[in-house]
């Protein structure tokens, strides 16, 4: 099979585009940098969300525990108020 030949003006079009965008290599590396930055931001964001979620669940546990302790204390005091001198 013989090789088909692209049109004559194709080279001129390519060179014109390259001349009009001299910073194409900066453009390609810029795109890559933006993607890396976006990935880092997403990872940091996910980490922050999971840390906040863990902290909130600990606070709930502590609140629950404090609530239970207070209830136990009040119940004991109510049951045995004659024994308590304070």
């Amino acid at each position: 099979m013989h090789r088909a030949i692209p049109s004559d003006k194709l080279y001129a079009q390519i060179w014109n585009r390259i001349q009009q965008q001299p910073s194409l290599s900066i453009y390609y590396s810029g795109k890559a940098l933006i993607r890396v930055a976006a990935a880092i931001i997403i990872i940091i964001g996910l980490n922050a969300v999971s840390v906040l979620a863990v902290q909130k669940s600990k606070r709930v546990q502590i609140d629950d525990q404090t609530g239970i302790q207070n209830f136990a204390k009040e119940y004991f005091q109510a049951q045995h108020k004659d024994l308590l001198w304070y």
């Binding site: 013989h2 088909a4 194709l10 080279y11 390519i14 060179w15 585009r17 390609y28």
Partner: protein
């Protein structure tokens, strides 16, 4: 005429003549590969443009781990895949349009692709082959194009496709099998016989 290293250095230094040499040495390969995969002359030219612009932009990262032509083939295949993906996305949102304009002229390309590189007496066989190529999976089509049409050896084609040689062999075996089925069916339907007249050497 510069050798490869001098040519690349020249391009990195902004020498247009060096880039022109690179273009004239490799444009035909890029264009023909794209043409065989996309089966559309305008799209093949668009892909050729994109490929050479990317070559110019990323030539600094080429470290001679493979040959320059293999590297250029891999960029061409990647660009063709991206083009095919874009076409599939566009088809999802397409609307029906008429094939003919107000002057009764055909506005869309014909359904059967005629490769401009095929000589006259083989045009009919060429149409059958390229029509069959459209029906097989893209990776098999690319493997067949690189080895059987572009004439790359297995090692070069595997590097260009970024697969192992055994994976390439498997793709070629499946491509041959699928193409034989498509072509036999075509001849059975249109000539009520098997593909006896088809240049079967193309599939070996």
């Amino acid at each position: 005429m510069l050798d490869e290293h001098e040519m690349i250095q020249g391009i990195l230094n902004g020498d247009e003549k060096a880039f022109q040499q690179l273009y004239y040495e490799h444009a035909s390969r890029v264009y023909n590969t794209s043409l065989s995969i996309l089966q559309h002359q305008q799209e093949a030219e668009d892909v050729t443009q994109e490929v050479f612009i990317e070559i110019h932009a990323s030539l600094a990262s080429f470290k001679f781990k493979s040959s320059l032509s293999t590297w250029i083939y891999s960029i061409t295949i990647r660009t063709c895949y991206a083009y095919l993906k874009k076409q599939r996305t566009q088809k999802r949102f397409a609307f029906f349009t008429s094939l003919f304009n107000e002057e009764n002229e055909l506005t869309h390309d014909q359904a059967h692709f005629e490769h401009p590189g095929i000589i006259l007496e083989n045009k009919e066989h060429g149409k059958v082959l390229f029509n069959a190529l459209q029906k097989i999976p893209t990776q098999q089509k690319v493997a067949f194009t690189l080895v059987k049409i572009e004439g790359l050896n297995y090692k070069e084609a595997a590097e260009a496709m970024q697969v192992s040689e055994s994976a390439l062999e498997s793709l070629l075996t499946r491509a041959n099998k699928n193409l034989k089925t498509c072509i036999s069916d075509y001849y059975k339907i249109n000539f009520k016989s098997s593909a006896g007249n088809f240049p079967i050497w193309l599939l070996m």
